[in-house]
């Protein structure tokens, strides 16, 4: 029984990390249809922000909270810069956007290597996150619980913004019918920029959270980008709900298979399951019905 609970929690924890990494993509790829391969590097930028902030603010607890805020801004501003300079020119060529942003990712990685050095660096976790808490008789590291909470908080905040605020209404209107939104007086260009800012900002937050799990390096983003895209594809584009379900499902699946075999076999089997799943539901878990040709 303990094994089941601890594996379940390992899966939920993995799922929450996947969710944090994929949440920004659910906005930029899911809502706007932009394939941003540099999303992982925005996470990396967030992680290095936490590292840099800790150089200034020595109290680990305070620096974590400050980093979450600044990480959001750093990721968001990088995203904004990318949107304005490159992506805005390429909305009609989604596949080419993928390659261009991959080029941006290469440059950002090398930039991090030149600024912070190639070896990994560590960010100290605050004292109140060290140790473990017993949940249902199983000791769970506090950092894992924190990340789970953070990912849920981000989802709630994002869905509230999308559902309740005027900005969210503009975003949804633009996604559903760009021309009609434009005619109704919404500046779709400004909406695009803001959506991209928020999505990339969430990547920054994810990066800060990842510093709690281990040391960080210039290739941090590449480790997560493929999985994050898979989460969005499996979840189905257009709604955050799909990404949430997919992230936790994939996390639990990975943890379960890992328990009975190895991590590498688990990865491969998860991929097989995803391909099989897309055979059944090519549009993902949650799909928005449209009349356009599939």
């Amino acid at each position: 029984m303990d094994a089941v609970i601890s594996q379940t929690f390992a899966g939920l924890s993995l799922g929450s990390v996947l969710l944090l990494a994929a949440l920004g993509l659910a906005l930029t790829f899911g809502q706007m249809g932009v394939i941003n391969m540099a999303h992982g590097e925005f996470m990396m930028a967030g992680a290095y922000t936490a590292f840099a902030v800790q150089k200034v603010v020595s109290d680990a607890g305070l620096s974590l909270l400050v980093s979450l805020l600044i990480g959001f801004l750093v990721g968001g501003l990088l995203g904004l810069l990318l949107e304005v300079t490159l992506i805005s020119r390429m909305y009609t060529r989604p596949l080419d956007t993928l390659l261009v942003t991959f080029g941006v990712a290469l440059v950002l990685q090398q930039l991090a290597r030149d600024i912070f050095g190639a070896p990994n660096v560590d960010v100290r976790a605050p004292a109140w996150l060290s140790g473990a808490v017993p949940i249902l008789g199983v000791d769970v590291p506090k950092t894992r619980v924190f990340i789970l909470g953070l990912s849920i908080a981000c989802v709630v905040a994002l869905s509230l913004v999308l559902k309740l605020t005027p900005l969210g209404r503009r975003i949804r209107a633009t996604v559903q019918n760009r021309d009609l939104a434009e005619t109704s007086g919404i500046s779709t260009r400004a909406t695009d920029r803001l959506t991209f800012f928020i999505g990339s900002g969430v990547a920054g937050i994810a990066g800060v959270a990842l510093t709690l799990l281990g040391s960080i390096g210039p290739t941090l983003g590449t480790n997560y980008i493929v999985d994050a895209f898979l989460v969005v594809v499996v979840g189905g584009i257009g709604q955050l709900k799909g990404a949430v379900i997919a992230a936790f499902a994939l996390g639990l699946l990975q943890a379960t298979i890992e328990y009975s075999s190895t991590a590498s076999i688990a990865k491969v089997l998860v991929f097989v399951v995803i391909v099989a799943f897309l055979q059944v539901r090519p549009q993902g878990i949650v799909s928005v019905r449209t009349r356009s040709l599939a």
Partner: protein, 375 residues
């Protein structure tokens, strides 16, 4: 002279003759053994590029997983070379190092050179055909296909690293002594490998040209530009796409198989997510939809990499990233389209000339995104 230039068949044979002279006479005559071996390596990478040109340039399938097929071919060849080095019934050195010193059952068939060569050609082609049929039939395409193929590359590399006992892990397979009985240390045999690579690449380019000129080639371009219209006309776009994907996989596998004896190592670092995308740089620069663009682009990029990254490793990464950004964003047709861009500019100033371009060579805008903008 201009009459000869306008005749496609004559142009083809002139091109073949020039390529043959450059590849078989000029290069071996002027380059040192080391440089020639380097060129042979670039030719192997160019084979992958030819396949990508077919699948991506003509078929519109952005495949980010060619490293998988390159790796399949490479690893199968490496397995055979390892077993051949160990002798009949022998065990490759790394297996006794990491494992229990026994050869796993699925390695055994690769003792046979004939089986190995057949497997290198057939197995990746079959895998790509089945995978392609499965996903294309369900109309998984565009960005989704790109992401899936990328995940395939990630899973493949992870699998190779995880199964160190049978794949050599991160170190990969290396330290080969011979190639089908020829000692790899002998410069004459290195030259022979170069000739094999050059000949294979030439055959591949001719095959692809044949495809481009055929009905199938027209159909492939049609599927790229208007898949639904092709479907309404009664064709099955999934079959058309899967075929191109399979041919691309076959070329990548052969490229990988020749890469192994030429370079002397194959490891997960050659087949993962990043190398799979990097294959695309050369293709994009040369001109993805043209016949020779991918080949020349791949050779040029590999050459630039090996000469620049030795002296300025950090600069090379910036340069590579910059190439991706500039070429794809501002020159989607690649360098091959420079002439066209130039002609268009001139045509705006001067009255338009009615010389029709090969319609297939123009890179069309890939299909609009399935969400958002086009809805």
């Amino acid at each position: 002279m201009s009459g000869l230039w306008r005749n496609p068949t004559a142009r083809l044979w002139v091109g073949v003759a020039i390529a043959a002279v450059v590849l078989f006479v000029v290069a071996p005559g002027t380059l040192s053994v080391f440089r020639l071996n380097l060129l042979a390596k670039f030719l192997c990478l160019a084979m992958v590029a030819v396949g990508i040109g077919l699948a991506w340039g003509r078929g519109g399938m952005l495949t980010l997983g060619q490293g998988v097929f390159f790796g399949l071919g490479g690893y199968m060849m490496a397995m055979h070379l390892k077993l051949a080095d160990a002798g009949p019934g022998g065990v490759p050195d790394f297996m006794s190092l990491y494992g229990d010193g026994t050869v796993p059952g699925w390695w055994e068939p690769f003792r046979s050179p004939v089986f190995t060569i057949v497997a290198i050609v057939v197995l990746p082609t079959l895998i790509a055909a089945l995978l392609g049929l499965a996903v294309f039939t369900r109309r998984v395409r565009g960005a989704y296909f790109a992401i899936l193929s990328q995940a395939l590359a990630a899973a493949f590399a992870i699998l190779l690293i995880g199964q160190q006992k049978v794949t050599g892990g991160t170190n990969g397979l290396n330290g080969f002594q011979g190639f089908f009985g020829f000692a790899l240390s002998d410069p004459a045999n290195k030259q022979m490998l170069y000739f094999i690579a050059a000949g294979t690449l030439l055959v591949m380019v001719l095959l692809v040209r044949l495809l481009y000129r055929s009905r199938y080639g027209e159909l492939l371009v049609a599927v790229r530009d208007q898949e639904n219209r092709v479907r309404f006309l009664g064709y099955n776009p999934a079959l058309v796409k899967a075929a191109a994907f399979a041919v691309a996989a076959c070329f990548a596998s052969i490229g990988g198989a020749l890469f192994v004896p030429i370079v002397g190592i194959i490891s997960p670092a050659d087949v993962g997510v990043v190398p799979s995308i990097v294959f695309l740089v050369g293709v994009a620069i040369g001109g993805r939809a043209t016949l020779l663009g991918p080949v020349l682009g791949a050779i040029a990029v590999s050459w630039a990499e090996s000469s620049l990254s030795e002296s300025f490793p950090s600069f090379w990464t910036y340069f590579q990233g910059g190439l991706f950004i500039v070429v794809v964003a501002f020159l989607p047709g690649g360098l091959a389209s420079l002439g066209q861009v130039w002609r268009k500019r001139r045509a705006v100033e001067a009255p338009p000339d009615d010389e029709a371009d090969d319609p297939a060579a123009v890179v069309a805008e890939p299909e609009p995104s399935t969400s958002g903008r086009s809805a």
